[in-house]
Symmetry: C2
Subunit: 356 residues, 2 copies
């Protein structure tokens, strides 16, 4: 393994001293970049881009050419696992993900396989290997997956949902079936992330995009419990190097204390959560990643710089903060505004680190 | 004024002793009821129903014929104020609200009038009077409005939004303009609610549907500040009777302590917020209203009863709880399931009240 030339991101997650706050951005390889749109249109469909390791590698590296990000994140989709389980993932233009064979019966759940990442998700693992080679240790590579609960929502609803009626009805009326499904998903997610780690990922992140749609009790029982099962099955070390794991529940600000207790190194914060309060609530248990409102990037560079400064100040002195947005960047943001954000983190954060 | 035959709802909000926990339901007069759909189709458009006091009265009273609710809520829309300001509200079938003349310039904001409720919103105030007469003191009548921030989001976006890009960009780049607009809205909302109180409303509720899309600091500056201005301008007494006021910020569970500090009698809780934790956080400052996940009503009656029991138990002993959903009822719920919820509150709640 190449050792990392820039390991700020890893050190911040492990709460080791850093000279400045590391920064990356959810969906940093994406539609706001013209060079991404060029590759995307060359690839054909979104899934054709995801399943082509060379192209996935190319778009993963693109944002690093423009911006001084401290991490790369694998270009992929959160729904690769249910696709590998045989549900038939596609993306209708402008409509989001769809499954040809959503989960409808107890038998569907019983039949769900646990995919072998090195065969059924080979295209992802190959992409990780290729990106890792091409990165040459420049920055860490983040692998990721959807959380068991979030995968289950799409698998039962068949597509994006506003009310989550189908999946919640299953949860309320047949909780045992739901638990069966989530257990299989947790095993699948762990195997998938372990394969990404073995292939070179330097950190992993679990995206619980829809955990925040649950009540407190249901979150603990149907989302967090399986995020913990994933964590407990992860092999978070490679060649003596610690691999940090991050859990991000969008809309989960109320539950940070519970999230901090299940062994992840870092928690992602959405922009609604005050990062100073979050830090005082979780204490030294975990690092925090976030959390600028993504809409801030529409504003002029001076405003962006001011908001970056506020978040850095709000987190305060010391390590344990990875700067990011509170959710993914939107497709029509001006890349110059991203530069303003990254530059602001580079310039304004050293004062919060004694090593800086 | 007729005195109330059932004032459980008022007493619970004022934290006076009650024999059992009162219950009503957001959007209780609505599409899940076949008798509502009949009136709605007779009226023509949704706005024609809202602006016809006789029909608005009829649908307001409908749910009380079926269910033992402890309050009626005025049938209206949260966006009547911007419509009265001249923005031209309409509802495209299945598409939600739209404004013909959204706010685009500083001049648009400068020109915004503060509507006189007794003339420009006469149809609402007439509906309140008519409902009040027809209720004959059976249960209290709740008046309501959208919060200044929530009204502003629709006025600037022109319709429902997912990202709130336009209104947040105005907020980030020209905060002074945003404050001008919110100040006018707060004055308008207060005048509107005061007119509803004068016309007979026994309680008022401010719906901050989109406050939860803001960061913590922005929530305090652009949403809560104006909810407080509204509160400070309300005349919450009529003929020696105290008129309780409720504030509901959907997605506001992180900010309950701040919300509890601005003088409202009760806070609405969405279903994500654990009601036991909420109670311990706000102490005796406010009553709490909520908070069953609306999707629970798709489940079979035994499940509904069990979930009602959990919420009552979670709130625990004593007054200060109004049972409700954590958001509005969905249009395709079976009315029998609503009955299961209401019956469960009636049967399971007396044990939590020493007077019961």
């Amino acid at each position: 393994m190449t050792s990392l030339k820039n390991d700020l991101f890893i050190r911040a997650l492990l709460k080791q001293d850093v000279e400045r706050t590391p920064v990356w951005m959810m969906r940093q390889a994406g539609r706001y970049l013209p060079e991404y749109r060029a590759v995307r249109s060359k690839a054909g469909s979104f899934m054709q881009l995801c399943t082509n390791p060379e192209l996935a590698c190319e778009v993963t590296l693109q944002p690093l050419e423009r911006f001084a990000f401290d991490a790369a994140i694998l270009f992929s989709d959160i729904l690769t696992i249910p696709d590998a389980m045989g549900l038939g993932l596609s993306f209708a233009e402008g409509e989001g993900p769809q499954f040809a064979k959503p989960i409808r019966t107890a038998e569907d759940i019983k039949q769900l396989p646990i995919p072998d990442p090195e065969s059924e998700l080979r295209y992802v693992i190959d992409a990780v290997r290729l990106i890792k080679t091409n990165l040459q240790g420049r920055v860490p590579l983040i692998g990721f997956s959807g959380s068991p609960w979030t995968l289950a929502t799409y698998m039962v609803e068949g597509k994006s949902s506003k009310s989550f009626q189908k999946v919640k009805s299953l949860m309320f009326e047949q909780p045992q079936l739901m638990h069966q499904m989530l257990d299989k998903l947790a095993q699948s997610v762990a195997a998938y992330l372990n394969a990404q780690i073995a292939a070179g990922a330097d950190a992993v992140m679990v995206f619980d995009t829809w955990g925040g749609m649950l009540s407190h009790d249901d979150y603990l029982e149907f989302s967090l419990r399986y995020a913990k099962q994933v964590k407990d099955l992860l092999k978070l070390e490679r060649d003596g190097q610690k691999i940090p794991a991050i859990l991000f529940t969008k809309g989960g600000g109320l539950w940070l204390e519970s999230m901090a207790n299940i062994g992840y190194d870092g928690l992602g914060l959405d922009w609604q959560t005050d990062i100073a309060q979050a830090r005082s609530r979780v204490g030294n248990q975990v690092a925090l990643q976030g959390n600028m409102d993504p809409i801030t990037l529409y504003a002029k560079p001076e405003v962006i710089r001011e908001k970056v400064g506020k978040i850095l100040h709000s987190y305060g002195q010391g390590s344990g903060h990875v700067f990011n947005l509170g959710h993914g960047i939107l497709p029509d943001i001006n890349p110059e505004h991203v530069k303003a954000m990254v530059d602001a983190v580079h310039e304004l954060s050293p004062q919060y680190h004694t090593a800086g």
